[in-house]
């Protein structure tokens, strides 16, 4: 008798990818995908159950399929890609009430053995008085006052309460840094897709990314029996190695930045939204002001997960998938090289190969 995995939020690209991946696991018998709307992508033969996790029916789904592993991915910052499904309040309802209902159903389902919740590093907030690098145990100095971050804090609260009530269930909370990839529709991805990036004048936040492949992989690893010497129950920060500054990201993506005064951004948010920044929420502004970096020692040492992509590689992959910006870095590099040959004409003697050395050196670093 193999395992039965229930995945919520499969109408999203990441949820769909995870369903397709987890089905290939040898010990998984059946995968049940749950969402309000029918996913546009195929689920690789997994069973799709149209159910609203905000309704008590979800308990019936759990009991009917004899689910033993629940992967809750239906906590989102932005509205679903499908039109007509509401505004911020309905997103919040889906995040918070949906999690409550789902956890209530899990509590009543004796077959459930494992719960994996996709959370976010925004639960740490991010303020000037916070330490530079967040640990799993770092308390937020200033709690997120609203938006997705607050939802995530509340969701994690319910998950902790659930873990106390059902100590027999192994509960994993994965706090993801920003997931980027070819198909992920996150607010930050939408932001990076803008032709010109509005930034906060005088701030250069530090950012970390997770490649979507790594995100799917770590979810898969958390959803199964832990390997020897590792432990999957607990809370883990998930992020790629390394850190990038926003200015650096903009240069690597080839997108010019427009620094704006913080008050101007706060007032002009609605204007920006109409221009095309899909979700320029206060939380997004806060991220673009203070940034956020987490420590991933626990992920490596306890969960035993090594991301394949660093933060820089994730951004590079994302940049490739999104096409060139207005100021592609290759063009800029070529301009500088041309300038170099103009200023320092290559000579016949040893100087020339020194210049080449310089170029090669630049090439190595670049």
């Amino acid at each position: 008798m193999g395992r039965v995995v229930l995945v919520t939020g499969v109408a999203r690209q990441l949820g769909g990818r995870f369903v397709r991946r987890v089905q290939r696991e040898p010990d998984v018998d059946r995968v049940v995908g749950v969402d309000v709307v029918e996913p546009e992508h195929h689920l690789g033969g997994a069973e799709f159950v149209p159910a609203d996790i905000r309704q008590p029916d979800i308990a019936g789904v759990l009991a009917h399929h004899g689910v033993d592993t629940v992967v809750h991915m239906d906590v989102h910052g932005s509205q679903p890609a499908v039109p007509g499904t509401g505004n911020r309040s309905s997103v919040k309802e889906n995040n918070v009430i949906g999690t409550m209902q789902l956890l209530g159903a899990c509590q009543k389902a004796p077959s459930v053995r494992r719960l994996v919740v996709k959370s976010t590093t925004s639960v740490y907030g991010g303020a000037p008085r916070d330490p530079a690098v967040f640990d799993e145990s770092t308390p937020a100095k200033s709690m997120p006052s609203g938006g997705f971050a607050k939802d995530a804090v509340e969701v994690e609260g319910y998950v902790r309460a659930f873990a106390r009530r059902r100590p027999d269930v192994s509960v994993t909370v994965l706090r993801f840094a920003h997931v980027l990839g070819t198909c992920v529709d996150s607010p930050l991805a939408a932001y990076f897709a803008l032709p010109v990036l509005p930034t906060v004048l005088g701030y250069d936040p530090r950012l970390q990314f997770v490649h979507e492949d790594d995100a799917v992989e770590v979810l898969r690893q958390a959803a199964r029996e832990p390997r020897r010497g590792t432990l999957s129950a607990g809370t883990f920060n998930i992020a790629g190695d390394g850190t990038l500054l926003l200015s650096q990201c903009a240069r690597r993506l080839g997108r010019p930045t427009v620094p704006m005064l913080l008050p101007a951004i706060r007032w002009g948010r609605s204007l920006l939204q109409s221009v095309g920044a899909t979700d320029f929420s206060p939380e997004q502004v806060r991220l673009l002001t203070h940034g956020r970096v987490v420590r991933t020692t626990q992920m490596r040492e306890v969960l035993g997960f090594e991301p394949r992509f660093t933060t820089g590689e994730t951004l590079a992959a994302f940049a490739r998938s999104r096409g060139k910006g207005l100021l592609p870095p290759e063009t800029l590099a070529r301009t500088v090289d041309r300038l170099a040959t103009m200023v320092i004409p290559p000579r016949e003697d040893g100087r020339q190969d020194e210049d080449q050395d310089q170029d090669q050196e630049a090439g190595r670093r670049g």
Partner: protein, 339 residues
């Protein structure tokens, strides 16, 4: 160490000599290649060695080399292909730009004299504890330049700064890029665990914004949290005394209401500021001395002593006394405030 002595260290001729020496020192592995037949595959390294040994420093070649370096730097900057660490420390920018901007202030304006910089260990973690003064935290920056330019192993000092630094726009971005981070035990522990040399000024705003009449009187050393952090990390504590910073902005008054209004811990009133406007914000050109003292080891204590308050108080006092006495000694030795 032997060839570090070959380098004319405090040579008064020009700053470039010293900087060149420093750049070379950054790559300890290539240090010895310099004397041999230019073996390094590193273009500018070779150019350096060549200049030095056969005296082939035609102004033209020098200029070309510098331009090539500048362009390579520019290329990396515009394409974003440089590294920052988790704290946002941009080492390349600090080495090439920020330190160069501060160096004139350090060498020409305050004419800083550095003593005992070799007391900072060549490798491994160390906590440098210094007095704090001067209304604006220029002393921290000068200490950073001093370690950057003069330490035989070319160490980089990572300063711990007040939260106000990270609230101000522009300042916070620059501070992060220069390797500063928030003065909290989490960050300090993380940096020490990586084996960095961390600079801290435990007096904080109490020292920075003290009235002119209290100059060179050390204030309370916070709650001494820095000692327990160093003890946990087993990092030696290097006391540091800075003379000269007290007089750059003689603070004769404090506009407290204005300070509260602006959210600053104090609002300085000096003989020139704010009366002369921005002109009054020019620091006085005092002559500085930065003295690093003998390191105090912290690794000999039994486990759990970081939570022993008596030991913490004693160690804090010991460090405070050391810095205070060094300050007095340096003051007696000083001929005048400005020369």
């Amino acid at each position: 160490m032997a060839d570090a002595k070959v380098i004319p260290f405090g040579s008064p001729d020009d700053g470039h000599e010293r900087r060149g020496a420093h750049e070379r020192r950054e790559r300890p592995g290539e240090r010895h290649l310099r004397a041999g037949p230019a073996g390094g595959d590193h273009g500018d390294e070779r150019a350096h060695g060549g200049d030095r040994i056969d005296g082939d420093s035609t102004p033209d070649g020098e200029w070309e080399r510098k331009t090539a370096q500048a362009l390579a730097f520019l290329r990396r900057r515009v394409t974003g292909e440089y590294e920052v660490d988790d704290f946002g420390y941009d080492r390349e920018l600090t080495d090439q730009v920020l330190m160069s901007l501060l160096r004139p202030l350090y060498e020409k304006y305050f004419r800083v004299e550095v003593r005992g910089v070799e007391n900072i260990p060549d490798e491994g973690s160390a906590l440098i504890v210094s007095n704090h003064s001067g209304t604006l935290p220029l002393d921290g920056l000068m200490m950073q330049v001093a370690v950057h330019d003069h330490h035989p192993a070319g160490r980089h000092l990572r300063l711990l700064a007040a939260d106000l630094v990270f609230m101000l726009p522009m300042v916070n971005a620059l501070a992060r890029k220069a390797g500063h981070t928030l003065a909290c035990s989490e960050d300090a522990e993380a940096l020490l665990a990586r084996g960095e040399a961390v600079g801290v000024m435990p007096e904080g705003f109490k020292g920075l914004g003290k009235p002119f009449s209290d100059r060179y009187k050390l204030q309370r050393f916070g709650r001494g949290g820095f000692v327990s952090t160093a003890l946990r990390a087993g990092a030696p504590i290097v006391p540091c005394s800075i003379v000269g910073a007290e007089e750059i902005y003689p603070m004769v008054g404090n506009a407290k209401t204005l300070a509260r209004l602006l959210g600053f811990p104090y609002f300085p009133v000096t003989p020139t500021f704010p009366w002369l406007g921005p002109l009054g914000a020019i620091p006085l050109p005092t002559k500085w001395t930065i003295q690093f003292g003998e390191p105090i080891p912290t690794d000999g204590y039994p486990a759990g002593s970081a939570d022993d308050p008596m030991l913490m108080f004693n160690l804090t006092d010991q460090i405070r006394e050391t810095i205070q006495h060094t300050l007095y000694k340096l003051l007696v030795r000083r001929r005048s405030v400005f020369f």
